[in-house]
Symmetry: C2
């Protein structure tokens, strides 16, 4: 079972590290307990929407950017990441080969 | 404050209606209480990651598709939806006009 909170935790931690902030700094700025934020980052606790909004603000990152990243990572896990095929359909390849031969 | 649970609720309801399912059908298939799912859809309750996974499965929709839609809607609310500008910068327009005149 793919758990959203694990991706949310990973993304929050990655954004925090990208910004060079400590758990203590972000927890303090977001007014959440350090232990709680740590559990959220490890995917052990569900963050309420209010906590998510506070942490996003503390990270100076729109919540939409965080949730889009969560969606993208979930898509990779679920194997539905590709919206554009990276290989050509077989019939197109056959048509291309046929055209090459006929020239 | 932008609340993630409200968008999750809206998206779950929209996907359910798109599939022509009733609350009762989805709640039953996902093994969650009808009243609870209804509150989640209205953005009144946070859905745990396990419940989200069950409801997504009941809707035959990858959880990544749901979370990406949530991210996209949050981006519109936050006004950060556009990654490609839909208007030209003023200096480019001025340059274009100047070229027209000089011909």
């Amino acid at each position: 079972m793919v758990l959203v909170r694990q991706e949310i935790g990973d993304v929050l931690r990655d954004f925090r590290l990208q910004k060079g902030r400590t758990l203590r700094q972000v927890a303090s700025k977001a007014s959440v307990a350090l232990g709680y934020l740590s559990e959220v980052e490890r995917g052990q606790k569900e963050a309420s929407s209010e906590i998510l909004a506070s942490v996003a603000e503390a990270l100076e990152t729109p919540i939409s950017v965080i949730m889009r990243e969560v969606g993208d990572r979930l898509a990779i896990i679920e194997g539905v990441a590709a919206t554009i095929p990276d290989t050509l359909p077989d019939d197109l390849v056959a048509e291309f080969d046929a055209n090459l031969v006929s020239r």
